[in-house]
């Protein structure tokens, strides 16, 4: 069991920052998902934790011990590679036993340990085969078995499901989660799939452009995104972000609607009186369609989902995006049993609990002041 601590860890390739200085503490037994778009430095971060990549700056601690300059083999970590990295010349059995044999473990104990993980992952029928003859899912199971068998202090997984097809990802996702719950080993899990991160992570580290954007529980990054990037990146579709002007206790939204701010936010927004521009953010489910709703727009498209309808609403009342960045289409959830005609007018209110405000300049969320 292990606690991993990163202090101002950074990596530069030549002049390029692959990872800008970041701080992160991963607690014992925690499952942390490293989430971000392609090229944002997730893999590099994971490789630095593992010791496969040397840090440019900063220090790494595992269980309080400075491991910054220890090699991967000295860190007691397991790494599951995106493309499995099984040893092609060895049978599945030999692959799984390899880390144990490397430690010089006794044959009887090796056999017992291998038997344990083989049972756990249900791969008994594959033992005599070689990796090239396995399907993607089976390769993934074997790769997991090879990393589990050593009972390492922590697991690092680099998009372990990235090479699998959609159907199988779901199965393996559940399997990894189950293994984590059974073993309670500290796990860092890299993915660019936010659904995966939300479903699996105890906490999510959202990265973009080599920088950590936010660290928080799935609920936190979903409901309280730290900035516009996280708001947009998490959720599908992402959070609706509508620019507007703050006037009195109202926000004049782009497109013409006037949105009265929730009373709880007024002191906070008033404190920013010298700045009147603001971005209003809300999730699709924060919208409540009603005849008297403050925000109005025109139905631009509507998608039927099993239990609800997702309405695309054009706030500036135009049915075409006008291409100059002035149009504002928001997504709102509506009841599935009401039929919305495209081009018809729709009005909605926002659940005051679920509205967020962002500073357009810094792109950061505005924190609500709590006044006693």
């Amino acid at each position: 069991m292990a606690e991993i601590e990163l202090r101002q860890v950074a990596k530069k390739f030549g002049d390029l920052w692959a990872v800008k200085p970041m701080d992160l503490t991963i607690y014992d037994g925690e499952f942390v998902a490293l989430l971000g778009p392609s090229g944002c430095g997730k893999t590099t971060t994971l490789r630095m934790i593992s010791g496969l990549e040397a840090v440019t700056e900063g220090r790494i601690f595992i269980n309080g011990k400075d491991v910054t300059w220890l090699s991967a083999s000295q860190r007691d970590i397991a790494f599951v590679f995106q493309f499995f990295a099984l040893y092609p010349q060895m049978t599945v059995r030999q692959n799984i036993a390899f880390p144990l044999e490397s430690q010089g473990m006794k044959r009887a104990e090796i056999n017992q340990r291998v038997a344990e993980v083989v049972k756990l992952l249900e791969i008994g029928h594959l033992l005599q085969r070689k990796p090239p003859a396995l399907s993607g899912g089976d390769k993934q199971r074997v790769a997991l078995a090879r990393s589990l068998v050593r009972k390492p202090a922590c697991f690092l997984m680099d998009e372990p499901l990235g090479a699998l097809d959609a159907e199988f990802r779901e199965v393996m996702r559940a399997e990894i989660k189950r293994l984590h719950l059974a073993q309670h080993a500290t796990t860092v899990y890299v993915t660019h799939d936010q659904v995966e991160a939300m479903a699996m992570g105890d906490r999510i580290v959202v990265m973009s452009a080599a920088e950590v954007q936010q660290i928080g529980t799935p609920a936190q990054v979903y409901h309280d995104p730290a900035n516009l990037f996280v708001a947009n990146f998490i959720g599908s579709p992402g959070m609706n972000l509508v620019p507007g002007k703050y006037v009195g206790d109202e926000v004049h939204l782009r497109g013409g609607s006037v949105y009265p701010t929730p009373p709880a936010w007024r002191p906070t927004l008033a404190a920013r009186w010298q700045r009147d521009d603001v971005i209003v953010g809300f999730r699709p489910e924060a919208a409540q369609v009603s005849e008297t709703g403050a925000i109005r727009g025109m139905v631009y498209a509507s998608d039927l989902h099993g239990s609800y309808t997702m309405l695309h609403v054009s706030l500036n009342g135009e049915l075409r995006p006008n291409g100059n960045g002035e149009d504002t289409i928001v997504h709102i959830r509506a009841r599935r049993d009401v039929h919305y005609v495209i081009g018809s007018l729709v009005r909605f209110d926002l659940n005051p609990e679920m509205v967020r405000f962002f500073d357009p300049e810094s792109e950061k969320a505005i924190a609500k002041e709590v006044r006693g």
Binding site: L52, A72, S73, A85, Y87, P88, Q89, M90, F98
Partner: protein, 308 residues
């Protein structure tokens, strides 16, 4: 005239027919010369020499071949000089192939590392392989020369009167040294391509799995390179059994018959005084059979390795 008709395109059907004939004709035109050459230079001599091996015949005499059944083979297998030649060939093949394999593989392991002059160094090392064996033999004779050759100085013998006379005292070893010098790069080249094909992540996985460098070599590097290494060994073994040009260039089979490989014995049998063409054909077939046998052992092993 006909072409202009075709271009005019009055009769598409006829054009099509003619084009089909042309295609086939072109195909045959390409194949025929090769086929003719192959038959003249390979197939005919192959069968003619097989016929000769069962006859008493001398190409320098006027007498036609006389069928003597397996007489030539009986004589060969009872001739201690031929057995000696096979023993020399075997020793030579074993020593040179073993050394080449070790040195070539070693060089490949060194050159796999990424460093600045890597490409240049690889090219330089490959040069001996590209030279003509006869020329190599000639200049190594100079290098081995006890009076002015550089070899003795390089290995530390500064006094020509006490230094070994390589081509006389250690003639077979000398030929092995030159062959190794010339052909280790070939083994290296094959091994290098095998090594470069091993993806980095396999080693990263082994590092994560805490395998020592020694273990990584035995369990990952060697199994990956083994098929290519075996192929290199196969090629070099066949070549070693046919060793001729280098030996002729260096020692001519001497002193005495110390470096008389089977091929050299064969050459002497035909072209140095005796002109026993029938007997030599028989010997050539014995060599062929030995080489096929040895190759099959390797190939069987190679296949087994692929299955496993």
């Amino acid at each position: 005239m006909t072409t202009s008709e075709a271009v005019a395109g009055g009769e598409p059907l006829r054009i099509k027919a003619r084009r089909q004939i042309n295609d086939r004709a072109i195909q045959q035109l390409f194949i025929m010369p090769t086929l003719v050459l192959l038959i003249l230079w390979n197939v005919f001599p192959l069968f003619y020499s097989l016929f000769l091996s069962f006859t008493q015949y001398s190409h320098s005499g006027k007498a036609p071949p006389v069928w003597i059944g397996t007489g030539n083979f009986d004589a060969l297998l009872n001739d201690p000089k031929i057995w000696a030649a096979f023993a020399v060939t075997g020793r030579y093949a074993l020593l040179s192939v073993l050394s080449q394999t070790l040195i070539g593989f070693g060089l490949a392991l060194l050159l796999r590392a990424k460093f600045k002059a890597n490409g240049l160094l690889t090219t330089l090392i490959l040069i001996p392989m590209m030279l003509s064996p006869v020329i190599v033999g000639m200049f190594w004779r100079l290098i081995f020369n006890p009076l002015m050759g550089i070899f003795n100085y390089m290995i530390g013998f500064w006094n020509p009167t006490t230094a070994p006379i390589w081509l006389k005292d250690h003639a077979l070893i000398s030929v092995v040294i030159v062959d190794v010098w010339m052909w280790s790069p070939f083994v290296m080249l094959l091994c290098l391509s095998g090594l470069k094909a091993i993806p980095d992540y396999i080693y990263e996985a082994a590092e994560i799995d805490r395998a020592s460098p020694w273990r990584q070599f035995w369990r990952i590097t060697l199994p990956h390179v083994a098929p290519l290494l075996l192929l290199a060994v196969l090629f070099r073994t066949i070549e070693a059994f046919k060793a001729f040009d280098l030996v002729m260039g260096l020692t001519g089979g001497g002193p005495g018959n110390v470096t008389e490989t089977v091929s050299v014995a064969l050459y002497r049998m035909v072209f140095q005084g005796q002109a026993r063409t029938g007997m030599a054909s028989a010997l050539a077939y014995v060599v062929l059979i030995v080489i096929i046998a040895v190759s099959n052992v390797y190939i069987w092993y190679l296949n087994k390795m692929k299955e496993a």
